[in-house]
Symmetry: C4
Subunit: 226 residues, 4 copies
Amino acid sequence: MTLQLVRRQVCELHAELVRYGLVVWTAGNVSARVPGEDLMVIKPSGVGYDELTPEAMVVCDLDGNLVAGDYAPSSDTAAHAYVYRHRPDVGGVVHTHSTYASAWAARGEPVPCVLTAMADEFGGEIPVGPFALIGGDDIGRGIVETLDGHRSPAVLMRNHGVFTIGRTAKAAVKAAVMTEDVARTVHLARAYGEPVPIDGKDVDALYDRYQNVYGQRSTTDGAIVR
Amino acid sequence: MTLQLVRRQVCELHAELVRYGLVVWTAGNVSARVPGEDLMVIKPSGVGYDELTPEAMVVCDLDGNLVAGDYAPSSDTAAHAYVYRHRPDVGGVVHTHSTYASAWAARGEPVPCVLTAMADEFGGEIPVGPFALIGGDDIGRGIVETLDGHRSPAVLMRNHGVFTIGRTAKAAVKAAVMTEDVARTVHLARAYGEPVPIDGKDVDALYDRYQNVYGQRSTTDGAIVR
Amino acid sequence: MTLQLVRRQVCELHAELVRYGLVVWTAGNVSARVPGEDLMVIKPSGVGYDELTPEAMVVCDLDGNLVAGDYAPSSDTAAHAYVYRHRPDVGGVVHTHSTYASAWAARGEPVPCVLTAMADEFGGEIPVGPFALIGGDDIGRGIVETLDGHRSPAVLMRNHGVFTIGRTAKAAVKAAVMTEDVARTVHLARAYGEPVPIDGKDVDALYDRYQNVYGQRSTTDGAIVR
Amino acid sequence: MTLQLVRRQVCELHAELVRYGLVVWTAGNVSARVPGEDLMVIKPSGVGYDELTPEAMVVCDLDGNLVAGDYAPSSDTAAHAYVYRHRPDVGGVVHTHSTYASAWAARGEPVPCVLTAMADEFGGEIPVGPFALIGGDDIGRGIVETLDGHRSPAVLMRNHGVFTIGRTAKAAVKAAVMTEDVARTVHLARAYGEPVPIDGKDVDALYDRYQNVYGQRSTTDGAIVR
């Protein structure tokens, strides 16, 4: 995949964040690893989603340094870069402040796995990572360390929002969409009593089936394989 | 109705699921029985709603085996097929994880009939079916057994989501839309005290009138007649 | 205003119900009195909002009998007709099952006036009318009797939904939009304690100003003047 | 910037209020100071957002008197004018009744700073101003006095809604969008326990960084600099 194709894909995937209502104004971003190179493509900082073009996307190395592009990269670039450096299986990273997921994050509470759709996509709870200030490696480290030991491609960073990973940027966007969807449903479910838990072995069966059977065999939209 | 017309109708009805916010990403599907044949048309698995075309729709027999189509059928095909085999009056089946309905399903709690619109469309509560794993006949059997003895064209499958049936696929889509609408309204109503119950005889009167008087006489949009 | 103009206006106003999310499928309707005649124009029963055209609108007399049109009139026609017969100042009537307003209606609880926007438009609480079955004069009578003694152009019919009135059909649509808006805001406000009441004299001052000063002098969009 | 450019910008920014769901019908407005002159451009009163054109925008002096335009100015003009007279650093003012923010306002409760996005944009809580009747200087004075001593560009006026300020009208619109976004997230977060507080020094660090590092250096979209 040429760099130009990656730029176009990253640009187009931001439109999915808007379509699914995961972002307002400029608060959320998608990045993709450039296959075969130590580079990533990411959103420029503070630019509105309507104004994004493939050319406006920014190319950085995996330390977050600007390599090519007319704009300064997203202020979340360091976190994305940390993930790419420490997780070679990850091809895409997404960050949002989507509403219901951020509400769980504000309480520092993981989303329990009480929906078959959660078992499918997350293989268990969506975990919570630490409070971390922007600007250095703290957020990235919090993401990687929290996801280690979970099947979930999503982590709720405390008082902050959501980071998701995927084998591709599209898979990371899907994980971000599903995170908000299940965070909302489980939030509502709890209003009148605790949701019924799903047995661990059923969660395992659902997760295994979804990761291995669901979709078309030629899909490029799979989740992280571990 | 030719097979091509059924494919187009099933394709177009998926757009209604999107329009009414009942689905995200690829999680939800519509099927229709092919009139006069032991066949059904259903969504391909894992394909986005934007990419659906009449040609992409999949034709299966009523055991869920692929008969025609370029894609693998929805992973929910076995459940749809079970319903068609056991309910000859059913011409369409819809499955969603719509938010409020799935929240009731996560608690395993039926939606009580406290709105005239519920009496009209559902003739009583929206019942809850069992927890069932995907892949065999368990979901289909849970749908059919739960709806037996209810006037509701919708069932909340525990920890999972909604299945609806109709004389036509359009009627099943309408039932899915109404399920989410009333699940949301009753969820909100309960926030500050229990909603006022509706007398059983008033529920009967409303249901009978709606099923027999509402709409245009030439409509093809009716609910299940029992 | 010719009958054709009224048909077009009523058709177009249904699109506002859709735009503001007050209706799903076919559940909601607008009517307008034909100026200078004992006639009303109303939505046909069970026809989707996308399929509405000025020609599809139905003309009825003020007893609800069909006068002109290719379709059967809305099943709510008797209620609209009752209002026109008993309230000569009313030029438009709207009915919806909008979500938050219907949630208050399901509890049979009026929306208290705790927002300046409510004082402006409703001049006090939004009252609750009785439970009434569709088909005769019960709903219409419930609307008229409940609104008598309130400044509100909206009434929540118990376990049912909203009816609004206006000097024009557009004003009634505006009242329906504002009803859902304030029903939602006050619902949310109560989640963490009671909203602060507004003094009666301040409600009066806000209502008087809004009804008499707000907007452009040539507006045709005013509320009911009593 | 010529007057015509300001009119166009103010017209276009109203579309952002609609896009982000902050307003219904005609209830919300944007104004901008005309650079280098004692003038402001504001929405006409009671005109729908679809009907707004640059030419329909109204020019007033900073006492709220009509200077140019075919329509009567917004009924909130006096409040906007008061802010411009007392805050020479302010170039734009926005007023909405956005749902979640107005729910906090109805309880008279500030939104606590429990999200990093709040620390970024507001530098602390979103404060509550007094109940004030429309028509004189009371609302404007309440806005200015409440924002004095807060870093927040937004104030919740009790029982009423939101006013935001910005160095530009676009920055004020952004603040209105972010106000509703964080008011909603924190509302939801509280449903199941108190959100985790953010340390004051972390709030300071986040605010300082966001105001000084975020975005592109050439941006005209900054917040108020004090």
